[in-house]
Structure formats: C-alpha cells, structure tokens
Amino acid sequence: MKGTNLGEFEELVLLAVGILNDEAYSIAITKEINRITKRKVIFPVVHSALNRLEEKGFVESKLGGATKERGGRSKRLFTISAGGKKALLRVKAQRDELWSLIPKVVFKNA
C-alpha cells in the first residue's frame, strides 16, 4: 500500500503545478522550481516525482499542446486533483499550526 503522504519535494512540485495552471508540463515545472527555489533540480527527478504524484492521485494529466520543437509530440499537462488540493491544504494547515505553537521568545534569541 503506497503511502498517501506528501513529501517535501513532492509538495514543491505540486505547488509548481498549481502556479503554472494550464501550462504545467514536466519541463516547465522543472524550470519554475529552479527559478523560485534557486535549487538545481534536475528534470528526470521532477519527471519521476510527477509520476509518483499521479499514482498517489494528487495530480491528473491529459495530453495536449504539441509544438514543433517537440517533434510534434504532445505534452502531458498536469492539473491538481481534488486529492492533491486536500493534501496541500492539510500540509499547510499542519505547518500553520506548528508555526503558531512556537513561542515568540524563540526568534528573539536566534
């Protein structure tokens, strides 16, 4: 039974899918993550993460948007599914809760 947990990297990818909206296919997602996080994320890793996310049911995909530079082949365009949205929100809620529990004093000393 595959876990339905959302990993840290998967969360990034999922968010990037959200950001790109209609144009979310693997290469664009990689570029977006690299641009925002300044991390050197490589394409194959994103590709396999997307695959995992789809297996877990967090994204849905459909083919479309063929271009000439792709040799006329379609892109796999991803959208966040209902399950994905739920997972993202759950992660965010957890984070917010954790944030709210940190005493203010802690940041004073840091």
Partner: protein, 861 residues
C-alpha cells in the same frame, strides 16, 4: 538551416521507444526532443546529441520501463553491481590475486589466438580462393618417394585444353637465388621475384594502386611491383611506364599493387612477365595453379589428373626410372599441407595445435584459480546471500548477483589483458616471425575471442560459486554452520587440475628443450662454424670470374679456406634430384638420387670425413667434371663392394666415382641421411663459402674490396652458415620459446592461487595453531601441517601429469628422424622445480603461523 534540421541520434530515439512504457512515451519523447532543441540553440550539436543519449539512459528506470512490474531483475543490476564492487574492494588481496592471474592468462590466450587466427587466414584473402588449386608432383623411385611443389610446366595449358571445368591455369616460377635489381643508381639483390604467366591476375586478385590487371603482364619484359618495392627503387617518382633493370635486362613497370598481406605463402616483391606465351617454352618445371569454374568441379578431379599424367608424363618416366603422379591441394590448404621440395615456407599445424592447447591450459588454470579463491571467501558472501534470501531474493537472483561479480572481474581483467598483450605483441612477432598488427585488437575476428573469454571465465568459472551460494539454506549460512571445509574435495581437486596443467607444461618444455638441443648442438657431420656464405649473382657471364675471386679470398691471411658451391649445394638447401643409370648386383637400373655440385675445397672446408678414395681435385674440375664422390649411405644401399669400379650414367654422360665420404646431415635432423652424389663442378656456382678466423667488420671490408674489384656493380651480400643451419629449426625454436614463457606463466598463476588458498586456510586455523603451539608444537610440525596437504595435492597432480605429457611429447617427437629418448629426469626435474616453487609460495604464511603470538592466535575469531 531549414534543409538540414538537426535530429537527435536515431538509435537512441529508437531505444527510448523500445523500452519506454507506451503511456509515457509520447510525452517523454517530446520532452527530450524539446530539451534537445533548446540545447542546440545554446551550444554545440555534439554536446546536445551526447546529452540526449545521456537523457535516454537516465530515464531507463523501473517506472518508465515497458511492463514495469516484471523487470525487477533488470533493475537489480545496479544493486548487484554495487555489492559486487563493494565485496571486491573489501578483499583487496584476493581480488588482486584473481585479477592478476586472469590478466596474465587472458593476455596469453589473446596472443596465442592472434597467432592461430593469423595462421588460419593464410591465402584466404584471394577472391577466388575456394576455386584455386595447386597441382604438385609425387615422384616414386626405388630409393625414395619425394613430394615436390613443382609440376610439368605444360601441365596447366594441357589441363585447360582437356577439361572445360578448368577455367584458367597459371605457371609461376621463382627466380633462382638472388637477382640484382637496379634503377637510377640504386642496386639491391632481390630474392622474392617470380616469373608468372599473364593469366596470373585472372586467378589471383590483388589490390591495384595503378595499372590494369588485364593487360599488365601480357607483353614480354613487363613487371608488376608491390608498393614496398616501388618505393624502394622509385621513391616519390611515378613508377608506371618507367624501366627497371632486373638481372641485366630492362623491364617496363606496368602495375603497382598493394603489398600482399603477410599471411600468404606466395610472398613476392615483383612479378615478371614470361618471355613467351607459356613458361613451358623456357623452363621444364614450374608451380602450377588451376582455377575451376565452380568449387564443386574439384571433386573427383584427381582421376582426370591421373589421366593427364599417363598421357603426358608416362613416356618420360619410363625413361628416367621414376614414376610420377599428380596431386592437387586447395590453395588455402597449402600452408598446412605436407612439406614438399621447392615449396614455399610452411605453416606448422602441430605448432598451431600445441599453442592452442597451451592457451586453453593457461585459461583453465586461471579459471580454476578464480573458482578456488572465490570459494574460499564465500563464507562472508554466504552471510550476505543468506540475508538477501531472507529478504525475499530468489535463487536465480542470487546467481545473477554472483555472475555480475564474476563478469565484472572478467571485464576488468580483459581490459588489463588487452593492454598487456598490446605491449607483448612485438615480442611474439619476433619469436614467430609474423607481422600481426595492433589493429587486430579492433578487428571483427577478434570479437569471438573476447566473447569466448567472457563466457568461459565469467559464466563458466562464475557459475560454480553462484550455484553453490544460491543453493544454501539461508539459516545455515547465517549461523555459519556451512564452512568452506564442506567443499574441501572440490577445492582440492581444483588445485590438482591446476598443477597438473602446470606440470604437463613444464615437462613438455624440458623435453622440447632437450630435443632442440639435440637438433642444434649435435654434430651434423660437417663443421658449420665461422663460415660466410656469399651470394653469387645469377648472371652466367660472371661465373667465370668466380674462381679468381675465390683464389684471391683464399690468399687473405684470415681466410682458412674458400669454396664454390653450385645449385642448391650449400648444406640445408633442397637438393637437386636427377636420374642416374647405376649397376647393381641385379643388373643396371635407373635411379633418382640427390646430388650437389661442389669444387675441390668443399669437403675440406666443411671438414667432412673421407672414408676411402680421394677428394675431387683441381685437375678434375679443369678437365671435364666427370668425377663424383658419393656418401656411405649410397654405397650401402647399392651394396657395392668396390665403389670405385662403378660408374654412374646420366643421359649421355658418364661419371667415375673417386671417393666415398662419411655420411653427414646435409638437411635437418628431421630427415634421415639419404644417398647423395657429389659432383665435382664449378661451372655454375651459386654460393661462395669462406671459412674465416673470427670475423669482424674490417675483414668484411677487405673482402668486399676484392669483390668490387672483380664485380664492381654487384653488391657483396652474405649470410652465416650458422643462420642457414638454425633456420631449419625455426618452428621448434618458436615452440620452445613459447612453451618456456607460458609454463612460467602457468606456474606464476598457479602459485598466486596457492598463495591465496594458503592464506585462507591458515587464517581459518589460526586458533588451532595457537593451541598446538601452547601445547608444545615446534615450528617444523606447524609448517608441515600447512605444507603437507598442498604438497600432497601437487604430488597427485604429478602422477596424473606424467603419462599425459609423456603421450604428448611422444606424439610431437614422432616426426623427427633423430630424437631424444624420454627419460626419468624429464619428469623428475620439472616436478621438483614445481614443488620447490610451490613450497616457496607457502613460506610467507608458514612463517606467519610459526612466529605469531600464540596468545593472540587463541583470541582470534
């Protein structure tokens, strides 16, 4: 740029299509193409292509793979590779022993295979090689049966006329001795010139640089040169259409061909056209090749040859007292065929066999080494495979993992071995007289060797440990109850196999050495030391000058004696055979005898003993050349009581016998001494022999000056008698050298293995030795504990090896007329040497066991 749009490498694209799951393919392929297009925009095309290939391989992952649920095996390789790498680097000593052994043996195997491949390639490069046959003659006479490579010069044309299936025939004849070739002030003696009929190029295909094969030799006085020869005389000039001086005649260069490959029996530098239509009009004998229309026409053609022989040769054979028959052999079989008189240099099939057997031995020894050493460390591996099994690995997966490891080892050794053999190649070329090139390593014929090695070692040797570990009960493996000891019989028998091979090689080496010694060191019946054999140019107008040259040489203070010898009359050459009328007790017969022509000093120069009668004298030579000497064998064969009463008739001439010489080995010790007639004649000398005290450059200079005085434009070239003599035993010497090297190799590899084994067995018994020492065992009893079992195995190997090597050596010796008898020492000495070396390789561990601290040893484990 529209016309030339860059595309990613097609094969990589195909590969992607092959492995990728169809549901992912469309998108993934598009993605990769898109990345490719982007990269082209920002950088070089090559880089983009390489990166595309990289991408394709990077995406070879479980989730992209077609039907990806069933291919875990395929993807476990990464893991197998990793664990193989780790376990190999953990046992550095063992791994390096294995790799060293494998490297040495594989490079030995590679070198020998290259040799054997080269031997088997002989004359196969001709397009029509499967339809070309050589016709040779067999002479039967009462005294001997001789095979000669020659046949009647008319035979070719006759056969072509009689039988439609003979498409073409050619007669070729090698120019006698050395011919002086000159052009534009450059002048050298050349040996490799052939006179060929114009049909030659219709049968033999060559690579032409310039000239036209159909017309090149159609006119008299034309010559086709090889590239090498053309460069030698013409340098940068264009040779076509120029003239070149061949033995005093001008020839027109009509063609240049690429140098024929070295794996051919017909090695030549130049091909000369015939003066008339057929060679037969100017010579009686030649080498005949025929070309059949279809390869199948050759079946049963021997009968037709017999018919031709009856028709044309029988009248003649009745006259000469010999019967002839024709034989034919396929061009590609010539190299390994029977040795014939006047033949091209032969390959030695038995050498090729011997070498192949050695190569397999070496490979086998290294495999055994590998199996042995990997068994020895399998305890540690058993734990690993035990855990793998408990985690759900199938036996097949364990086997796959083990095989990965052995293939990894084999591949590493193979790479090392290729480098090593590339380094050793010049050495092998020198020993065997071949010209194998480095490029061979990249040729297609080399591929099977590599595959064979990988399969033989990687799978064969690797499967033993693989099957063993995969069949273990995982719990036993984890408990360590399965000790290596349980497979002791296997390990022992492997050691025996290994050392059997070693001892066989050693014994054979010893026997070959003794035999070669017998051949080269025993007295041939004549003195061959310090004799220079000077080539006399093949030009009848110069012959009359030769006695003067000889006399002037004789007067030099450092020259003891000099002598002129006629056609093929220097010891080691193929003697001429002629038919003589002789009287025996049963009447007069015609008989064929070997004969040589020499002058009055020949017998003294070679210190050949005189049994009775007298030597040929100067007067005999000045008179009419009608005196001859014979050897003892001839007298014995004819049963003559008074040889001097006999005469020998040849055609219209009659010879009187004046002396009988002691039998001497004119030819090599391969053959027994045959009856011989020694003519006193110096009318057409071929070689001038000079016996000197201690030769040096100054003396050669003096002789050359005299030579130039008489024959000023002829080069002074010579060879030592010793060289001619030793050339007879070239193939034996090659076997000797190679056996010597490889038996050392085998010993080194086997001892590497022994070293490793002893290391493991002593480390397993460390505790035992400690206890023994505390209880009072001395150094001798401890070391004998270690040595005993291995030395006993080697002893067993010796018992097995002795009869095998005896049989092998007897087979090899059978072809010699004079051979050593195999004695006890041939076996004892090699065995003792091997025992000593094996003992030495165990010494280190014995020393460690004896001198280790007993208390520490007990704490071991």
């Amino acid at each position: 740029m529209k016309s030339k749009e860059h595309r990613p490498p097609i094969w990589a694209d195909r590969f992607l299509e092959w492995y990728c799951d169809p549901s992912l393919l469309e998108d993934l392929q598009g993605d990769l193409h898109e990345r490719f297009t982007h990269r082209i925009r920002n950088g070089s095309i090559t880089r983009a292509k390489l990166l595309f290939i990289w991408d394709v391989f990077i995406f070879l992952r479980p989730y992209t793979f077609r039907g990806n649920r069933r291919v875990s095996f395929f993807f476990m390789f990464r893991n197998y590779f990793k664990s193989a790498y780790r376990s190999l680097s953990k046992n550095k000593l063992n791994t390096s022993l294995i790799v060293a052994g494998l490297t040495i043996s594989i490079s030995g195997f590679i070198l020998i295979s290259l040799y054997v491949i080269d031997e088997s390639k002989f004359d196969k490069h001709y397009d029509k090689a499967d339809r070309i046959y050589r016709v040779t003659t067999k002479l039967h006479s009462e005294t001997a049966t001789e095979l000669t490579a020659w046949s009647d010069a008319y035979l070719g044309p006759h056969l072509k006329e009689l039988y439609p299936e003979v498409e073409e025939s050619v007669g070729i004849v090698k120019m006698r001795g050395k011919t002086i070739v000159s052009h534009d002030g450059k002048s050298f003696p050349e040996e490799l010139l052939y006179r060929v009929e114009k049909s030659y190029f219709r049968i033999f295909s060559h690579l032409w640089i310039s000239g036209d094969p159909t017309t090149a030799l159609s006119k008299p006085r034309s010559i086709v040169l090889t590239k090498k020869m053309a460069n030698k005389y013409f340098g940068d000039e264009k040779p076509i259409g120029q003239s070149i001086d061949i033995g005093g005649d001008n020839y027109l260069v009509t063609g240049i061909i690429k140098n024929p490959p070295s794996h051919s029996d017909l090695i030549f530098d130049g091909l000369l056209s015939t003066d008339k239509e057929y060679l037969a009009e100017s010579t009686f004998w030649c080498t005949t090749f025929i070309l059949f229309r279809h390869a199948a026409d050759a079946n049963g053609f021997e009968k037709k040859l017999d018919f031709a022989c009856k028709k044309y040769l029988d009248p003649e054979s009745a006259e000469t007292g010999t019967t002839f028959s024709y034989q034919m052999e396929l061009l590609t079989d010539v190299h390994f065929g029977d040795d014939k008189l006047f033949d091209t240099p032969k390959g030695n099939r038995s050498s090729a066999y011997v070498f192949t057997v050695i190569a397999l031995f070496i490979l086998c020894i290294a495999c055994v080494n590998y199996v042995n050493l990997s068994f020895a460390q399998s305890i540690k591996k058993n734990v690993q495979s035990g855990i793998r099994k408990i985690l759900g690995a199938q036996p097949s997966q364990i086997r796959a993992q083990q095989l990965t490891e052995s293939l990894l080892l084999t591949a590493t050794s193979l790479i090392f071995a290729i480098c090593l053999s590339a380094l050793l190649l010049p050495l092998i070329n020198r020993t065997t007289g071949k010209e194998i090139e480095f490029q061979q390593f990249f040729s297609l014929s080399f591929l099977p060797i590599v595959l064979f090695i990988m399969l033989a070692i990687g799978f064969f040797a690797g499967s033993f440990p693989a099957i063993y570990t995969s069949s273990l009960n995982p719990l036993d493996a984890l408990n360590g109850t399965y000790r290596i000891v349980s497979k002791k019989w296997l390990r022992s028998s492997l050691v025996v196999v290994q050392f059997t091979a070693c001892i066989i090689l050693m014994i054979c080496t010893k026997i070959v050495f003794d035999q070669v010694n017998l051949l080269t060191k025993s007295d041939p019946g004549f003195n061959k030391e310090q004799i220079l054999v000077v080539d006399i140019p093949n030009d009848p107008s110069l012959f009359q000058l030769m006695p003067d040259v000889k006399n002037e040489f004789s007067e030099l203070p450092f020259v003891r004696k000099s002598s002129l010898a006629g056609y093929n009359s220097v010891p080691t050459s193929d003697m001429d055979i002629d038919t003589y009328e002789v009287d025996t007790n049963n009447g007069t017969f015609k008989k064929a005898f070997n004969n040589i022509s020499v002058d009055e000093d020949y017998i003294d120069l070679f210190k050949i003993g005189l049994v009775e009668g007298r030597n040929i004298t100067k007067e005999d030579l000045d008179n009419d050349h009608s005196t001859v000497m014979v050897n003892e064998s001839l007298v014995k064969m004819m049963g003559w009581k008074h040889p001097f009463d006999q005469t020998l008739g040849e055609g219209t001439r009659e010879y009187t016998i004046v002396g009988v010489v002691k039998d001497f080995h004119f030819n090599s010790f391969h053959r027994s001494i045959e009856p011989l007639i020694i003519h006193g004649s110096n009318s057409s000398p071929e070689k001038l022999m000079v016996k000197v005290d201690k030769i040096d450059f100054e003396k050669i200079g003096i002789m050359e000056k005299i030579w130039k005085k008489y024959l000023d434009d002829q080069p002074f070239t010579f060879e030592f008698m010793d060289t001619y003599f030793n050339n007879q035993y070239k193939s034996e010497k090659a076997i000797q050298t190679i056996l010597l090297w490889f038996s050392w190799l085998a010993i080194v590899i086997a001892c590497l293995g022994l070293f490793g084994l002893v290391a493991i067995s002593t480390s397993q018994r460390t505790k035992e030795f400690g206890i023994r020492k505390i209880l009072g065992a001395g150094p001798i009893s401890i070391s004998s504990l270690i040595a005993k079992q291995f030395l006993m195995l080697i002893g067993l190997a010796a018992v097995i090896a002795a009869p095998i090597s005896w049989y092998g050596a007897e087979t090899w010796l059978a072809k010699f007329a004079y051979k050593i008898s195999i004695r006890m020492e041939h076996f004892l000495l090699p065995i003792l040497i091997i025992l000593a070396i094996a003992f030495l390789s165990m010494c280190y561990h014995m020393f460690k066991a004896v001198h280790g601290n007993a208390i520490q040893s007990i704490k071991h484990e």
